[in-house]
């Protein structure tokens, strides 16, 4: 098999997998243009009549500008905090080999295993008692829940960054802090982007935690508002799917851009070397 046919073969496999992966999205997109009745009569096919109204109603009910902003601010703040402090913590744990660093690493790992539902009520009670149930409280909670995985990832990535790099800087008179932020952190860029992506999608979509913590009108995030399309008995699929489409698009754009950034970051690093 020549290189070219091999690649064509792989591309074909990619195409088929891509189609399979896209199928549920096709369902969401196509049904977002249907009337409620049409969705139930004809789930898979194209709409018998294209309805744009779903989008207008959904945007109105979601109060989309405000809600979008709320989600954005919480997501950006949380991810920034997670990346900053987790990379530092991972650096400390990876560079210092001691009993405490081993134990702490395992403590962080264990924290990932705790099902959220089991700490939910005590957590809300604890934060409620000190009046921290608001956006800042929420960001702090995301740091607590998000840092273990981030530390895990940074820890793995730090292994391939030679110690000589930061140690040289320190000998040159840099403080640890400077050495980390000026030399180590930039070379962790691909990991930072990965950590950011994984956390953005989690926080952007999280429903349960914000629904417990955010209790002021006008501060709701997108998932909270989307769930108003799902009632006690009935689900307003036509509105929910239109809403979902609007919510997903910015994230897809972000992901696509971030991906280019990763690739750029890697090539830039290669040139420097």
């Amino acid at each position: 098999m020549t290189r070219k046919t091999g690649q064509a073969f792989l591309a074909a496999i990619g195409l088929i997998l891509g189609i399979i992966w896209m199928f549920p999205f096709y369902i969401v997109l196509i049904n977002s243009f249907k009337t409620q009745r049409d969705i139930f009569i004809n789930t898979m096919g194209l709409p018998s009549k294209w309805v744009i109204d779903n989008y207008i109603t959904a945007a109105e009910k979601l109060n989309i500008a405000t809600t979008f902003f709320n989600s954005l601010i919480i997501t950006v703040a949380s991810v920034a905090v997670i990346c900053t402090f987790s990379s530092m913590a991972a650096y400390a744990l990876e560079r210092v080999k001691s009993k405490s660093s081993t134990v702490l690493f395992l403590v962080f790992a264990t924290a990932m295993l705790i099902p959220f539902q089991t700490v939910m009520l005590p957590l809300v009670a604890e934060f409620g008692r000190v009046h921290m149930l608001n956006r800042i409280g929420l960001v702090f909670m995301y740091l607590g829940f998000g840092s273990p995985l981030a530390i895990f990832l940074y820890h793995g990535a730090l292994k391939s960054i030679p110690r000589s790099l930061d140690e040289a800087a320190i000998i040159d008179g840099c403080s640890r802090f400077q050495a980390f932020w000026m030399i180590i952190f930039p070379s962790l860029k691909p990991t930072t982007v990965t950590v950011a992506i994984l956390n953005i999608i989690w926080i952007w979509n999280d429903y349960l935690l914000p629904s417990l913590v955010i209790n002021k009108k006008g501060m709701e995030t997108l998932p909270i508002m989307i769930f108003y399309f799902f009632g006690q008995y009935t689900k307003q699929w036509h509105l929910a799917m239109a809403g979902l489409t609007m919510v997903i698009i910015p994230v897809i754009i972000f992901y696509f851009l971030a991906q280019k950034e990763i690739i750029k970051g890697i090539t830039a690093g290669a040139v420097k070397q």
Partner: protein
């Protein structure tokens, strides 16, 4: 290691102290603010009915217009999660709402430390007879009904006419069975997939509503008897088996994964099945799909309990408004006044009838308060003594859905014998009430 522990404790302590301080400061602040605007009252309402969120919020707004010193904050819990979980979290967070929802005696028992007596409200005096029983302890009522709902077997009039069946004549189980067989025999002529759509995936339909009709006679229609029962006899299990078997045998298959949307909107709403077990709450969903169909082409057959009442409809209160007794008297008063206004003032009545489209649970509404065909039938049944009381809110917490309803799923898919289901039901009920 010791040093590590020390450090953690110091840090935690520091954070706690810091946040504690700021928290304290905040309370002091709000208190002084409250003093400045003495008569201003804020009522937080935490409610579960997503279907009437918008209408309810606009009602609250309307109330504020005529009562400028009162602010009403409505929080609604979105679908997909449990109202009970969200409510517990809300209470634990210390930001307790003034008004929330309870379902019946089981909820009242759980929440009793928080519930305020409502006998001083006008609404309690105007509630239709018997509706407060389920929320009354020692003669004191602790909740005000939302509305009345009822269910039965909703049928498609066109299909019945085509098959030559007169719906008015069906007033016993045997006649129902006969009609079902006629429909089944003419499936292709009538253009239906099956006679029924039994949504066994929705354990509230089977485990609560269906079972309710057969447990109600066992407890003489008294929800408090159900609530106080340590054990059950399952006296009407044969009648229930008949009904379940009939609905399952002639249903679109497989029933164990059939849900509400498929049952009501996809199958019944598009004429693919002739009969479904549901209540008057399906009207808005059907109406949104086809207004003419919902208004003119559907009716409700009675829900026959073989050997008991075979021409009646189970009718009851789905939810009650409850008030938090830990709130200060001013807030509590404002909260109760709001609910009184909503159900008893002329302005409020109009909202309840026209926007909520509720079947009213209070006196003083016009006889034509309900405009949809299903609601009318439920109201008629209630006023003609053709009602079977709801007792399922007196089941042990979670029993109907998580135990009985789940076992019914196994039964309808042939993985559990009926006798075993009955045994399990008796055993799990007794365990929960130990």
């Amino acid at each position: 290691m010791k040093r590590l522990m020390c450090l953690i404790f110091t840090l935690v302590l520091a954070v706690y102290l810091l946040s504690g301080c700021s928290g304290g400061g905040k309370t002091a602040n709000t208190e002084s603010k409250n003093a400045a605007q003495a008569e201003k009252v804020t009522v937080d309402v935490f409610q579960f009915k997503v279907e009437f969120k918008d209408a309810f919020e606009s009602a609250a707004k309307k109330y504020t217009e005529s009562h400028p010193n009162v602010t009403i904050n409505v929080t609604t819990v979105g679908g997909g999660t449990d109202y009970g979980a969200a409510l517990k979290a809300k209470f634990n967070s210390g930001e307790e709402p003034a008004v929330f929802n309870v379902g019946g005696p089981q909820d009242v028992a759980i929440w009793k430390d928080k519930l305020a007596d409502v006998s001083d409200t006008k609404a309690a005096g105007q509630a239709l007879p018997g509706l407060l029983t389920g929320v009354t302890i020692d003669g004191k009522p602790y909740g005000l009904p939302y509305n009345i709902e009822g269910y039965g077997l909703i049928y498609n009039k066109d299909i019945f006419t085509k098959a030559g069946i007169k719906a008015e004549d069906i007033n016993t189980f045997e006649k129902l069975e006969e009609a079902v067989k006629t429909l089944d025999a003419n499936k292709s002529k009538l253009g239906i997939d099956a006679v029924f759509a039994l949504p066994a995936k929705e354990t509230w339909v089977t485990g609560l509503h269906m079972s309710n009709a057969f447990f109600s006679p066992e407890f003489d229609g008294d929800i408090m008897k159900a609530f106080n029962a340590k054990t059950i006899d399952f006296k009407y299990q044969d009648a229930m088996k008949k009904m379940l078997d009939l609905q399952n045998k002639y249903s679109v298959q497989p029933t164990a994964s059939l849900d509400y949307a498929a049952q009501v909107q996809k199958l019944f709403g598009t004429g693919r099945v002739a009969i479904i077990q549901q209540g008057n709450w399906v009207f808005p969903d059907l109406s949104k799909m086809d207004a003419d169909f919902a208004q003119n082409k559907i009716g409700m057959l009675p829900y026959p309990v073989y050997g008991y009442k075979e021409d009646c409809y189970p009718v009851g209160v789905p939810m009650y408004w409850a008030f938090n007794k830990n709130k200060d008297p001013n807030t509590l008063k404002a909260a109760k006044d709001f609910i009184d206004w909503l159900y008893l003032s002329d302005e409020g009545k109009k909202i309840v009838m026209e926007q909520f489209k509720f079947i009213p649970a209070y006196n003083g509404y016009p006889s034509d308060a309900v405009s949809d065909p299903l609601g009318k039938q439920v109201l008629a049944a209630a006023s003609q003594g053709k009602a079977i009381n709801w007792v399922f809110m007196g089941y042990p917490d979670g029993w109907g859905m998580n135990k009985l309803g789940q076992d019914i799923q196994l039964y309808v898919s042939g993985q559990l014998e009926w006798d075993k289901l009955v045994d399990n039901a008796k055993k799990t009920w007794a365990e929960a009430r130990k």
